[in-house]
């Protein structure tokens, strides 16, 4: 079972590229088959962004839950991904 990661970006957001790059590297490292990720342009999905509580970009949601508003450190992002992957793995075993 994979986890769903969404990176919210907007035009003129200089840090959004960093967030995507960090995520891309972590996905490669942790296993691309386990992490289903996509970029969400806020202008295209403003209602969805507001619903999740996004207040600025970049923002990152995992499994529909907003976890980072702003550019997270690689360490924190990795921890969040590993936690979700770990939880899911335990659920699969149960």
């Amino acid at each position: 079972m994979s986890i769903k990661v969404e990176v919210f970006s907007s035009p003129g957001c200089s840090k959004c590229g960093h967030a995507k790059e960090a995520l891309r590297k972590l996905v490669d490292e942790l296993g691309g088959d386990k992490i289903d990720w996509r970029e969400v342009n806020i202008l295209d999905e403003l209602d969805y962004a507001v619903e999740l509580g996004v207040l600025s970009t970049p923002a990152i949601a995992i499994n529909g839950e907003l976890l980072f508003s702003g550019l997270p450190s690689v360490r924190k992002l990795r921890a969040a991904l590993e936690t979700r992957l770990g939880v899911d793995a335990k659920r699969e075993q149960a």
Partner: protein, 135 residues
Amino acid sequence: MKLYRIGDITNLTGLSADTLRYYEKIGLLPRVSRTASGIRQYQERDISRLRFIQRAQKMNFSLAEIGDLLQMREDPQHARDEIRELTRNKLAEVEKQLKELDTLRKELRLLVNLCRGSSDGCPIIENIDGADQPG
């Protein structure tokens, strides 16, 4: 007890003197006491009532509905069933509006934050404007 003249009330509420007299005439305000020379003297409770009327008007409630709500406001324990029902319905309308306003507030806050984060004007607003342009 502090008393106010009609000019004070127009300053405080922004309502015109004609409107204040009209509200009294149609019963939205109880008869306002007068001095011996016939000058109206408003009390704090009149101001509170007028503020309620103004808020209800902003919600597009009719003057008739506002009159009923004021009865409820005056004596909620003994209000008629239909007035209680009207009050419940109006409460639901206000809560729906609040929910929509809350969503709009979040949306605007997000847009303002995105502009603040940009050193180059407000590309997100320009982008939205551009999306409406033909071609």
